[in-house]
């Protein structure tokens, strides 16, 4: 059987895990997974684009740049600025995560010329029309959960820990998440998310990983919403960890600053 072409970059990147490491606990594995920040959401600067495909095969593109700063364990602040499609160019999104309170979110739409605070039960909602929800990006469902290590499974040539994560949060859209993380670098290679009805709702697949300044990033990935037959492919085109950001870079004022 032919292997899909998208697997090639995955096969070519990184190095196989060592089999002689002692097995960490489920909590430790999940902690490593969250700390690995393989999407660059806490302490990196990226430029990326996404291809959205609906059930009829119609596609649309989304390009953006993002910067983020780690505020503490599990919390960060990030600012996303969109550059494509043309109509969306200049729109920005600011998220400041709080340890023990609701996250603060602001949206800047250039044609309105000012930002708006976004509140409400937004976590289950899609982020800018993609198949990633706000909850997928804030990763609180993983952090605030009961986790168990259900075994080891290879994905292609990579040995992976297989975790079963049961989110505890009342506002979580998922009842269960299955997660496969590489044993050597804790990069998530696959996730299966089950909704509250215990039906498979989304499948996340890592298609390519890249190492930048010693840190592993998922540079190409795909999220498929099984129920809506909608797909988002996310490409991190440029990744930088060298830039240092101050808190002033994550304010409403910074958000409203043109491009």
């Amino acid at each position: 059987m032919k292997k899909p072409l998208w697997i090639l970059p995955l096969l070519l990147s990184g190095s196989p895990a060592r089999a002689d490491s002692p097995t960490p606990s489920a909590q430790q594995v999940l902690g490593h997974v969250l700390d690995s920040d393989s999407w660059g959401l806490s302490g990196a600067s990226i430029s990326a684009h996404a291809t959205l495909t609906d059930k009829t095969g119609a596609k649309s593109e989304l390009s953006f740049s993002a910067r983020s700063k780690r505020l503490g364990p599990g919390v960060s602040e990030s600012l996303v600025r969109f550059s494509a499609p043309a109509e969306l160019a200049g729109a920005g999104f600011l998220q400041i995560q709080k340890q023990d309170a609701d996250d603060e979110r602001f949206l800047f739409l250039p044609d309105l010329k000012r930002s708006r605070r976004i509140s409400g039960g937004l976590r289950a909602n899609a982020f800018m029309g993609t198949d990633m929800s706000f909850a997928d990006l804030d990763r609180r469902d993983l952090r605030d959960s009961t986790v168990s290590l259900t075994g080891s499974e290879p994905i292609e040539k990579w040995d992976c820990f297989k975790l079963e994560v049961l989110p505890k949060r009342a506002d979580s859209q998922y009842s269960r998440v299955e997660l496969w993380a590489r044993k050597d670098n804790y990069v998530t290679l696959r996730m299966k998310m089950y909704d509250r009805s215990k039906s498979l709702v989304k499948v996340f697949t890592t298609l390519e990983v890249r190492r930048v300044s010693g840190q592993w990033f998922i540079s190409k990935s795909k999220m498929v919403n099984q129920q809506q037959a909608h797909t988002t492919e996310l490409f991190l085109d440029q990744i930088s960890t060298s830039e240092q950001f101050s808190d002033d870079d994550f304010t409403v004022r910074a958000l409203e600053k043109s491009r």
């Binding site: 609906d54 119609a58 976004i118 800018m128």
Partner: protein
């Protein structure tokens, strides 16, 4: 024909075996028959040009109207206890992803709104309310949101709905799939009974189709035995013997089984139209055996042996029965030209069935008459025949000298009735056609309090990204608002609504900002913020297609035609020059247009079938006069039928217009039998009045029995669950009764005036048969 009957009688036991085997084959083939009521059967046919757009709409946007609906009523549905109940139902339904693609309810729906520089996104209800203030805030948000009000909640807050959209669109789901989905919802309701003060019930398109299918099955279970009982009683009253009941019933039953086997091979389900087939065949099918049995008993009374009596009876009747069966069958088969498969298969099946009844009458019945002993009490049966004979002849005696006046008066009456019946109201219905009782009442209540059940869709196609153009969105908003003002429309939602609601939310909730912004970029930005599942309900990913979805109450296709016409005009105006294609679709458009066309076709088909039968009479008997005689007596019952339709305020729709198909079987037979017999007597030199008197004596009793049986048989439809079937029963009784009266009054008078010289040459067999009957 005589040699065929002799052959059958000679090899009678082999014939019985062959008939038994063929009946078994028919029964085996018929096992695949499926009883099903689905509205799509009424408008899905090759050549329906509207189906392509309808399919495209379904492909892009699913079937948003195909929901199982839990319809909840309470004094205030925003009260904490009611919302908690709604939430419980929603959560219980959510795990059934195999059955339902999406659950919508007040506790699940998203609503974006704006307040004091803040945009509140996500769920309408983030936390279930505890206080009245919490409830009022949710109420205000919901009622102000055009995407929620009259979809999920009534404007007076007294009704709400939990909508479970079928994973397989309701339009394409089978009855079994719909039934399974309903069982899931009913199970959830059973586990979660409504608290005090709240009523909850299941409705929606799947519930309606399943319940209607069950009503259709119940109809078959009730009506077929009822018709059988009526026919059995009528046979007993005529023949006063078990024999007289069993033999005609055996003859017609085998034909029914054969026909059922053939019908199953057509691959059509037994739907509302198809459900009339067994009733039609049973009542019509028993007529020929009655004629034969009556004549057999008369011959036996004259001292003939059993075989001789059978041969004599069939010598007289086989060919006339064939001619009348042929005319009846061709009349039915004329509907094969109809576009709707269900009408085609009805015409074809009944046409074939009528011919099979004739085959069984000349094959099984003679064998049974010879194999089984004579009825012991047939003399009493003959008394009924004589009574009917005398009655008919007395009537003729009273009118024989006034033939001209009878014809003139009949013609005037026909003209007057036709003038009255000329204007017919064609209007198909969905809700009005549902079985009376709980099913119809719930849907009517749903229409009145919450939402209509008919979908009127404006499906808009354009180049990629075109749906983000403000000028196009304004045109969509214009049509959307136009629809909202229509009395039939309960709600209308569109992409414009979503943009308007977003614009208002991003402008501090200012009502004045409930509008389409001028900036295309801003429109795109709003769209990007929407949840893909919500957005996908009204626009495709590439923004090339969108729709305006209105739900309307059902007041019949005539009202809908007016709405459609006006809407088309509005759509043409609104989208002119905008480089998009806007088409009307949805079940209210596609189904209603198709069904109205089918009704018109049935009327035209009836006229065609009428002309075909007149043509057959002309050709078969080579007599223009006979053809002319056949016109007036058969136009009168047709006109009476149309007049009754108008007088009773019954609209011409698929289930009532089918009377035109069925009535073809009741027309012409007596006219032809009577005219042929009178003509043959005239040919034999018998004086005119006496010839007609004798012809009436021959034909009157069986015609009377036939009328009685057919009327009684079709009147059983009064017990149908379906209003249309009840009306059909009434119309059949009127048509059949007028056909008999007309044949007893007008046909003899016309025969007396027009059939002068016996110059026609009948086909040899027919001539022999008729001569033997004199």
């Amino acid at each position: 024909m005589r040699s065929y009957i002799k052959f059958v009688l000679r090899w009678r036991y082999y014939v019985l075996v062959v008939l038994f085997v063929s009946m078994s084959v028919g029964a085996y083939a018929a096992r695949k028959m499926q009883i099903r009521f689905q509205y799509k059967d009424m408008y899905t046919y090759d050549g329906n040009t509207m189906l392509d757009t309808y399919a495209a709409y379904h492909r892009d946007f699913g079937d948003p109207g195909g929901n199982v609906i839990i319809y909840i009523r309470a004094p205030d549905v925003f009260a904490p206890a009611v919302l908690a109940y709604v939430n419980r139902l929603t959560n219980e339904l959510a795990p059934h992803g195999a059955e339902f693609s999406r659950i919508r309810s007040l506790t699940q729906v998203n609503a974006v709104r704006g307040e004091q520089g803040e945009v509140i996104a996500g769920s309408l209800i983030r936390q279930l309310p505890v206080t009245k203030e919490d409830s009022d805030l949710i109420r205000r948000t919901a009622i102000e949101n055009p995407l929620i009000v009259r979809r999920l909640v009534s404007p007076d807050s007294r009704a709400t709905a939990v909508l479970a959209e079928l994973a397989i669109p309701a339009e394409t789901a089978s009855i079994e799939q719909q039934k399974h989905a309903l069982q899931v919802v009913e199970g959830v309701l059973a586990r979660n009974p409504a608290p005090a003060g709240i009523t909850a019930g299941v409705t929606g398109a799947p519930e309606v189709e399943v319940a209607t299918t069950q009503a259709l099955m119940l109809d078959q279970v009730v009506l077929l035995p009822a018709v059988t009982a009526v026919v059995v009683i009528a046979l007993f009253l005529i023949f006063r013997s078990l024999h007289g009941v069993l033999m005609p019933m055996a003859s017609v039953s085998i034909a029914l089984v054969w026909t059922a086997g053939i019908f199953a091979q057509l691959g059509r389900p037994v739907d509302l139209i198809g459900s009339v087939i067994p009733i039609s065949l049973l009542t019509y099918g028993v007529v020929d055996p009655i004629f034969v049995l009556t004549r057999f008993l008369l011959r036996r009374e004259q001292g003939l042996g059993r075989e001789e009596a059978v041969l004599a009876a069939l010598d007289e009747l086989a060919m006339p029965c064939l001619v009348t069966s042929l005319t009846t069958a061709l009349g039915f088969m004329a509907f094969v030209t109809a576009t709707l498969p269900t009408i085609k298969s009805y015409g074809l099946t009944v046409g074939i069935g009528v011919l099979l009844v004739w085959v069984s009458t000349v094959t099984l019945l003679p064998v049974l008459l010879v194999v089984f002993p004579d009825p012991k009490t047939h003399a009493r049966g003959l008394r009924t025949t004589r009574w009917a004979q005398e009655l008919a002849q007395r009537l003729w005696a009273a009118l024989s000298l006034r033939s001209g006046r009878v014809v003139a008066a009949s013609t005037v009456a026909l003209v007057l009735v036709a003038a009255y019946a000329r204007t017919q109201h064609v209007s198909n219905e969905y809700v009005g056609n549902l079985p009376r009782g709980a099913i119809q009442n719930t849907v009517r209540s749903l229409e009145n309090q919450l939402t209509g059940v008919l979908r009127v869709i404006v499906y808009i196609e354009g180049p990629r990204d075109s749906m983000t153009r403000p000028e196009l969105l304004k045109a969509i908003a214009r049509v959307d608002h136009y629809l909202e003002k229509q009395p039939l429309v309960t709600s209308s939602v569109s992409l414009a609504d979503m943009i308007e609601v977003s614009n208002r939310a991003f402008n501090d909730g200012d009502v004045a900002e409930l509008r389409i912004p001028e900036s295309r970029a801003l429109v795109t930005q709003y769209l990007s913020l929407l949840d893909p599942a919500d957005r996908a309900e009204v626009v495709t990913q590439d923004y090339s297609k969108t729709m305006i979805a209105a739900l309307a109450v059902d007041r019949g296709s005539a009202s809908m035609a007016t709405l459609r016409e006006n809407l088309q005009h509005e759509v043409d105006e609104a989208f002119r020059g905008l480089d998009v294609k806007a088409s009307l679709t949805g079940n209210a458009v596609v189904a209603w247009s198709a069904m109205d066309t089918v009704v018109e076709e049935m009327v035209v088909g009836f006229v065609g079938a009428f002309a075909i039968v007149i043509g057959i009479v002309l050709i078969a008997f080579r007599s223009l006069r006979m053809a002319i005689v056949a016109v007036l007596p058969n136009l009168i019952p047709a006109a009476a039928c149309f007049a009754t339709i108008r007088a009773a305020g019954v609209a011409l729709r698929i289930d009532t217009a089918i009377v035109l198909c069925i009535a073809m079987g009741a027309l012409f037979n007596t006219t032809i039998q009577l005219t042929v017999r009178a003509q043959d007597r005239l040919k034999a030199g018998i004086p005119r009045s006496l010839a007609i008197n004798e012809a009436i004596g021959d034909v009157g009793p069986p015609a009377f029995f036939t009328t009685a049986i057919l009327s009684a048989g079709f009147s059983v439809l009064a017990f149908s669950s379906f209003p249309g079937m009840q009306a059909l029963g009434l119309l059949m009784v009127v048509t059949i009764s007028f056909a008999f009266i007309s044949d007893m009054l007008v046909t003899p008078a016309l025969t007396s005036l027009l059939i002068r010289a016996p110059r026609v040459d009948l086909p040899l067999d027919a001539s022999l048969a008729v001569r033997e009957g004199v």
